[in-house]
Symmetry: D2
Subunit: 281 residues, 4 copies
């Protein structure tokens, strides 16, 4: 508990173990870095729906100061009858965002097929909460050199989470960014329970950058702002936040998306707070 | 809550919805059926380790009256440094079990690759707790006609569980058997918390057969017997239970495996109890 | 874990520790015993509402073979606006039940005031799930010689539960009966998650009798029967079950109460099952 | 969910319901107020151990800018063999703290006896997580006019929590301060899971002030600072934090106590952050 090497050995794999407590290692992606005193905001809609929706959102996201665009073509949905994502038809939309902005692109992969399809079109991959225990997929991502956002599973302990990261690291991909997105508990007012102390806890245990997903944890847009600020105050290296030009018309998860105006306001608030925390948004 | 059609519509997908409350539909596998008054015991080691281990166990399992042999070649392990299963080298071992016994074979698939490799060598597939939210895999299994044991995810509500089954059913494979294997809670004495009331609850909601995995829920062999009997008494259609000729030497999960003698005793106890419950083991 | 003395020392207090694994100690209450091969059914309404309701229920409960009448005058309710129990006005009703039946009486105490008021009018006390961590109350009950049903708190580990029992035992009252009544988890189909493996787990750890409350765990009357049978099959020493002559008109918890006819049927089923388990209802 | 009156009616009692969303009502205690733009830090040891320990801590707490001294004479401990608090012998120690500092005094009550004993010696009462469901005690506190810190139970939903507050409010005491202190989940790295989004969620639902207990949620002193800052950033009105002159020698909960130097540093950090949040520590 108080950090003897043997106990860390039990808790965290050798690859994820904090290499140097004084110097935080950053994950580089294109010309930006995640970690090392930056607070990186990644934003965009839950799902890509159309070229207009994507480009409109991306422009505001860029104007607000975010660096990375959340661009999901495939959605793992609890019900097979829910919208499953735009799929391969979304590839030209990604290209349109690249043309219209300088944002880097981040997307979710649910299977090896998706990985093969999307690898060359995006800058960063994501394995979501439902995929965190899909170790076969993590092994495949481990054989690429794409930065990966690995989200914590709904019922994953910090130990489980770090060992899932280890599947990527030990296969050769060192660019893993951990994402706390809430765990499942008995509380139902929020969609998940944001385990805010996972942020400083993981900082004690590993050198990997940690970001927070305020949208999936809160499940309500009124709580996304407080969740984001709490993440920054707790020491996170960034956010993955859902933004939509018309949340009430979104094809998925509209309840938790910020509209463009609310996102601009949030970014201003985060800049003020980051200054006190010694970080740059 | 008390079963109006509309409420069921919200809770359970149209495919999984109980078709006929009076007549339980069985899933047929080879010459046996799961459901409809039978109590089907599926048993075997956590992982196939060698031809001797597999054949010795299978013979006892058959002698004891089990009908299906648990034969896992691939293991999803929390740590990448743990034994990951014997892999494709285990295929001849499956053949040896077929030669030496009349047991049907059941195995876990973690990816499309595994599904393609194993499909023609086994009688029944399994998607484990870690795979329950791997909807891309469930879609693929839905396109086969192999009976599938779908285990409940660690943090899956009954609604999540039934909607995961729906991914298989709606893709054309009607042979889904649900398996309660414990959920993750704050209690640590057991490996998971066996949600025994999931059995009668699912019986209210769906026509699909329900079995119990006493081994992964208990995590300790001393509790496997009571868990098995409780499952039968609560109305389950069968068990998936871990048996090993030398549990203390097992390559995985030995703490929760019964030895061959304990399994024979358990089967006798189950036969007595099943008679009172109006079922045949 | 496998029962070394030192590990038990950490887990379970010296008073609750299993004294003799071969010989189960019973708690005696009047002329009956709980434990040692008996399966004791305690039944009655969630709350005493009127003399007619109480006496009608008690007569059926007695006819069905139960030995102890659940007779709650005070109810701890989540909302202050819900029915809080009939209170001291119920004392003559308890007397009426004594006159009309030979049942022993069991009741809940929420405070020292209740304990003082009720002590001489009942045969057995109960501290409910909400009171399990009210250690000041447990100390007071420990200074009486009344048998006590101690229910597990909603978020209590087995260790917490056994240490709460220790507060009673170490103060001099050895007549503690543990009651598993479900824990709070993310699942909402049932009111609580019945932790059925707590029954054999506690049997490993302590000599105290263990009963199951199928009503509060299930929260739906359709699941009370399976919960009761699972409890018996898992090794419990008895049940605490809610029965009401008109569940839909009950002032509290009607959804989970059996009507009189359903209770008679359940008792018949339990007798058949108990015979196989080597127990007498 | 989006705040219609009827839905709030279901979720939160009429007394706790947010009276005026624009104007936060403060709870006054002596010459200070909790809420309305202040961030009130309450600090002190887990338990009062001696006059020296108490006075030394209180002086540093006051110097650092805290306004209220945490002064517990009675401790609800999981085990009856753990230190149960100094008890009535601590009353002169409270007097010594009053003589040596201008701090207000806050203390926990576990029963009516404690309430009667302590009422005239302290400025603020506390009912802890274990007492949140002790409604008989809450009714008694409701008949006083002492400000009350009501801590959330380990397994209490926000609805349960607000309805527990309602027991105090409806009995006539309007001075209730809610305290988020973590809930019990499957994660074991922290003692409890700090549900940080409970802070803004409760702000949506009620006019009552909300504070955070970073010590009991974290369970490790290394995480107390991040937990405190996250609480402030999420909108809390204050903190209840454990401070001890010699944490490693504390009679209870030393692992989670800050030493005096760490507390001074934390207070400086909180002042900087509060300025950005528009609050005064």
């Amino acid at each position: 508990m108080d950090g003897g090497v043997n106990k860390l050995d039990e808790f965290v794999g050798p690859q994820a173990r904090k290499q140097n407590p004084e110097h935080r290692v950053a994950v580089r992606c294109g010309d930006i870095k995640i970690g090392e005193g930056t607070f990186t905001v990644m934003a965009g809609p839950c799902a890509i729906e159309s070229v207009d929706q994507a480009v409109e959102t991306a422009k505001v996201v860029e104007e607000a100061g975010a660096k990375i665009f959340r661009a999901s073509l495939f959605k793992p949905r609890t019900s097979p009858y829910s919208f499953q994502g735009i799929g391969p038809e979304g590839l030209p939309i990604l290209q349109a965002v690249r043309t219209e902005t300088k944002l880097l692109l981040e997307t979710e992969v649910l299977s090896l097929k998706h990985l093969e399809l999307l690898h060359d079109h995006v800058d960063m991959l994501r394995v979501g909460a439902r995929g965190m225990r899909n170790y076969e997929l993590l092994k495949e991502v481990g054989q690429t050199q794409k930065p990966l956002i690995l989200k914590r599973g709904m019922s994953a302990t910090l130990k489980d989470f770090l060992l899932a990261a280890e599947y990527v690291l030990v296969n050769g991909n060192e660019k893993v960014i951990l994402c706390e997105r809430g765990i499942r508990t008995f509380e139902t007012y929020t969609r998940n329970t944001l385990d805010i102390l996972a942020v400083p806890a993981l900082k004690e245990l590993t050198h990997l950058p940690i970001i927070v997903d305020p949208s999936h944890s809160a499940g309500r847009r009124s709580l996304v702002g407080p969740a984001s600020k709490a993440g920054l105050a707790a020491g996170a290296d960034g956010l993955l936040v859902e933004v939509h030009p018309n949340p009430d018309g979104a094809l998925s998860d509209g309840d938790q998306a910020l509209d463009l105006s609310a996102f601009l306001t949030l970014m201003d608030e985060l800049r003020s707070l980051a200054a006190v925390m010694g970080k740059v948004v």
